[in-house]
């Protein structure tokens, strides 16, 4: 609920900024954006694996999994000078690996040594409402914002105790961003974006390659892909 609130605030702030900007350079009709950067997941997951003795390692693993590589791209058609509609695609990837993690199997006799490896891929595609407002004398700088809603696909590759698992799932998600473009050419620019993504996965499909099962996750087990991200990218404008 808090995330949705802040996304709404960000969107309206952007709209206000754009609305008050002095228009000196022609606002593009189509804006293409491709960005890459880093993200940081909000999910504060502790070492919740049963029996893990070396919790420092699993803590480190989860910290790794909170740091995401973020790619995104969008196309917005600015149909009303400063506002537009378009589509947005987001991809982010997190991964982590820890070796020689000690686990108590509960037989009161042994310790098990496992290597943990996890790679999570998230693809989001959604309808996006965006804003663009040029500022400055030469209008080279444009303030941007967008609010996207769509469907997110999760793909999580797990390796644990010698077993490889693929977990997939999907759910509706949202993304909100604000940013700034610098147009060094009438058709080209670079931009920086700060955004937040909100997405949860409550139902997943787990497969080991031979057997597949669907699993509905309890609230405390849901995969929380929500994150904040900072990206840099290229912009292409069609005036």
């Amino acid at each position: 609920m808090n995330q949705k609130f802040w996304c709404t605030v960000l969107l309206w702030t952007t709209i206000v900024v754009v609305a008050t900007a002095q228009v000196a350079m022609r606002t593009p009709t189509l804006r293409f954006s491709a960005s890459g950067g880093v993200g940081f997941l909000f999910a504060d997951t502790g070492s919740d694996l049963d029996g893990v003795l070396t919790t420092a390692k699993t803590d480190q693993l989860y910290q790794s999994l909170r740091r995401a590589r973020h790619l995104s791209g969008d196309i917005h058609y600015l149909f009303k000078d400063q506002y537009g509609i378009g589509i947005k695609y987001i991809f982010h990837h997190t991964s982590g690996e820890e070796n020689e993690v000690l686990v108590d199997p509960g037989d009161n006799l042994h310790f098990i040594v496992i290597d943990l490896r996890e790679s999570d891929y998230l693809n989001f595609t959604g309808l996006s409402f965006g804003g663009y407002s040029a500022v400055g004398k030469q209008k080279r700088i444009g303030l941007t914002s967008s609010l996207s809603a769509g469907y997110a696909f999760l793909r999580s590759e797990l390796s644990m105790i010698g077993q490889q698992l693929l977990i997939t799932g999907g759910n509706f998600a949202m993304n909100a961003e604000i940013g700034a473009d610098y147009r060094f050419h009438p058709n080209l620019g670079i931009g920086i974006t700060l955004g937040t993504f909100s997405g949860y996965f409550r139902k997943v499909k787990i497969t080991d390659g031979t057997q597949t099962q669907e699993q509905k996750l309890d609230k405390d087990e849901q995969y929380n892909a929500s994150n904040i991200h900072l990206t840099l990218g290229l912009r292409y404008y069609i005036n």
């Binding site: 790619l71 991809f91 006799l109 693809n123 010698g162 077993q163 693929l166 390659g209």
Partner: protein
Amino acid sequence: MKQVKITLLLLSLLSLLPACDDSFLEENRKHPESYLLDGVLYVNPTSQFTGVTLTLSGLHGNRYKVMQYPRILHFASLHGEIDGGGNLTFDIRVDPFESTVNLEPLQLGTIILDISDFGMLSIPVVHYNPGIPAAAITPQQIDLDSVSIEKVFNISNWAAGYLFYRLTAKPEWIRLQEQSVYEDSFELDSTRVLFPHSQTNYLIIPDREQLVPGVHEGEIILETNDPEKPLLKVTIKVVVRTFKNPDTMIPLEGMVIDAEFDKQSNTALLITRNPARLIAYQPDRNEKREIILERNPYSMQLSADHQLVLVGMNDRIESFRLSTLQRQESFVTGFIVTDVSDGENGRYYLSDTNRELFSVNRETSELTNHSATPGENRAEGDVLLKMKGKPMLLLSRKENSANGIYLVDISHPDGAKAVKYWYSGYGTWYWTTEDQRLLFSTHDGKVYHTPNETTGEQIRESGKFIPFDSEIENFYYFSSFDHNAERKTIWGAYRSIHWMDRNIVTEFDDQYYNRLRTITLNDYVFSVGGKADYYKTMAHYLFTTRSGERLLLVKNVDSNDLTTDAWHLETVNITKE
């Protein structure tokens, strides 16, 4: 610009590629080989890391990871690499834990190693504390001699630990069997355990058939976990016989009826039936002479001057010269002569089967029946002993109990008068010291002062021969005695009973009758049904040579199953070293 667009598009697609590759799931289809180490890792609590090395032939350079380990262990490193020699080495430390003495190992868990290009290797980890045993074995030397079918040795463990013992060596010609286990066989290289504070017996069973005649020795060696006695040894000796009698045994044909020994000429004299023979054997020359008797003999005695051999026969008495065995005299009696004695008064005294006492005049051949007239002085008997230097005879009865003893006065040549009688007995023969001062009883081994005309109602005892230590004195039976005045010893031939396994002759001193030595009689090879075998023997007569260097034994086989005549004369050297 168009190129830029295409490039951006391609880069975007490439970034998505890793997110769509499911090939990593193929790893799940690979099932690594699992191996169980042919052995276990024994551990004890250690405060320091200790190296453990496994040699895995065929592997070198493979990396390994520890996948599982008992929680009581600590690894210095959970991964490593097998060296060029196939040695997989890791360092472990073991937490302290309570260790109690137990026969079974304490299972601590399993180490599982994931070895690259090989598979999973499981290593059981155990702790073993059998305690400290105290091994002992007795006896350490066993003589199976030539006849023993088995003998026993004992292994004991009088300590709180378990004793493990492994049979590492034994002669091929013995078999070992735990005495308390039916049809057991303790084989080479097998290991057994003895519980704390316990013992067990093993039978040693020889197999002489695979051995050549002679003496064979070998060793039983047991390896133990007793740090004080890691090896237990028992020396085994066995004798394999030749199934031939030695030259010291001279077979005698027929049944020996009586035997005498003349110490003056060192000559043994024997009479036999079937065939009826008189045999003289001179041990110094190992010379045996014999003549055929015309009648079956029943008794024999030397003349008082040791020149003649008197033989009581069926229907007559005959005398033979000792030196030549030539017949000297022959007196027809008309009855079986059960005993004969030289009266030293020109008469031979003799008895018949009715225990009547006769005498025959050597010059006239006149036969006188001294028992014919009933009365107070009538004497009877079928065992005669002439008192040396006295006109006295001692008479006794073989088959009566008690035998009874008559003292008979023969001072008058034509008469024989019983002057004393004692309700007592000493067996079927009179055996005395050389000077006849003492008389030995074959009934119970007692020694008596030979009775005479001055002896009162009771015949005085002098002592007793005890051939072996036993609580049952009734079994002190003897068949014969020999006194050697020169050696001052008395030999007694024990009249064995099969189940008592006392086939012995025993030497006593002639003053206090202390037992000096015991000789177990040699077995005798005898063929029954064409199969030769060794049989236990019993000495019916025994004599020492004059100087006491040899023992002459007149023996027969002593077998419960075999009632036959296998008489033989054996010479035993009894010179003391």
